[in-house]
């Protein structure tokens, strides 16, 4: 217990002093995870909605597949991206290994299935309510996808947050493809792993507190936005 309170004290001290190293780590964590969320949202929302609306052979297989991919182990994703980006790999020439870009790619692969699978579920439930009305009005599936995504925007905020939570919390993928290089690819989770291994538990816990506070702040802000907007728009 004393260790925890010491960690909180350390975290507060770290936040209060807010040195450049800490700012760098927190900033990179946010940049990588938000970048991955942005990409995964751009891919996962339309993809998930399309699977919800279109009927085609093999659709059920795809649904099961993305649902299963929600549980992708981060280290495995990291390993695959590592192989792709390493010198000998197909994308080796891009020279992306051990860069923040590689970390964004790995996290995007990790969370796109989460966003796509949850979006599919949300849009499919909505489609049950909207289908007759939209078909009556003459909305082809290609148009209905965007209509439903916009109409489900408040629920989909939660879906996107689930992706953000997964991305900001994972350590395995960014560790492998980023390498936890100081001032270059060190993010909060990899720093926590490092400090723990070094035995500097207070710093590790302090970083953990900051990480959890960030998650809390992002989720809280999203909740407020959703709540206010939903009460206004219904």
């Amino acid at each position: 217990m004393s260790e925890l309170s010491a960690a909180f004290g350390r975290a507060l001290a770290m936040i209060a002093t807010w040195d450049a190293d800490l700012a760098e780590i927190v900033g990179l964590s946010l940049r990588v995870s938000l970048g991955a969320v942005a990409l995964a949202t751009a891919i996962g929302l339309p993809f998930g909605a399309a699977i919800a609306l279109y009927r085609f052979p093999g659709r059920k297989v795809i649904v099961v597949l993305i649902n299963a991919l929600m549980g992708l182990p981060p280290v495995v994703v990291g390993l695959i991206v590592y192989l792709m980006l390493s010198r000998a790999g197909p994308f080796g020439v891009l020279d992306l290994l051990f860069t923040p870009t590689a970390m964004v790619i790995a996290q995007t692969i990790l969370i796109t299935p989460i966003i796509a699978a949850l979006t599919r579920q949300v849009i499919e439930d909505m489609w049950r309510e909207y289908e007759e009305q939209l078909r009556s009005l003459g909305a082809a599936p290609g148009r209905a996808v965007w209509t439903l995504l916009w109409d489900g925007r408040f629920t989909l905020i939660t879906v996107i947050l689930a992706g953000f939570g997964r991305a900001s919390a994972e350590v395995g993928a960014v560790m492998i493809v980023g390498g936890n290089i100081a001032h270059l690819t060190r993010v909060m989770t990899t720093a926590i792993a490092l400090e723990t291994r070094k035995g500097d538990l207070e710093v590790a816990l302090g970083l953990g507190v900051i990480l959890m506070s960030l998650a809390l702040a992002v989720n809280g802000a999203a909740y407020v936005v959703r709540d206010v907007a939903e009460r206004r728009v219904g």
């Binding site: 007759e132 009305q133 009556s136 148009r143 916009w150 109409d151 728009v233 219904g234």
Partner: protein
Amino acid sequence: MDGRPATIRSILPLILDRLTFSVGGKTILHELSESFDAGRRTLILGPNGAGKSVLLRLCHGLLQPTSGVVRWAGSANRDAAAAAQAMVFQRPVMLRRSAYANVDYALSLRGTPRVERRARVMEALHHTGLARLADRPARVMSGGEQQRLALARAWALRPQVLFLDEPTANLDPQASRQVEHIIDAIHAAGSKIIMTTHDLGQARRLSDEILFLHQGRVLERTPSDRFFDQPQTAEAGAFMRGELLA
């Protein structure tokens, strides 16, 4: 209603040829053959499970018949026929946007040029008494207002045929009356009305003819003044006396 170009050909008559619909081994409609011309307001009456809603959905193209045909004699082109119809459901489905935007959305789906849309949306909202509420989010409107908005959305499309499936089933008497007035106005503006209802008083007020459906078959189709005074079938008589039909 003004502005409907005279050059647009009527998609009517609507012809149903031995229309059958079954689901899960149960036949909902049996070989129904009917024809609907422009003008008259046709109300479909019948006990629960008679197949009224299914019949509307088959006509409107939301369901595919198990056998038989739905044909718009005036239009060989299915898309053109679909674009000349609208439907109002028992429970209106409104998009999470303003009343105005809901009507505008329907017009944009039909390819109405943006410059024409504003006037048509406002006209439809005005006709349904909703002009004041144009900016209100549709989902926070009352049930009656939402149903009027559904009618505004349908009206803005200037349909040749308007299907209505129990449009007042969830509404209080005052809201029902407003809906009835709007349906009458849409009819007066030139739309063919085909509608189902549970409410005999409403059927009497709104209909020119009654199509009485029972167990998936048309038992009679009678001008409404005659239907309510002397129904041609025992079942229709029993239905109007409020007796349970086997």
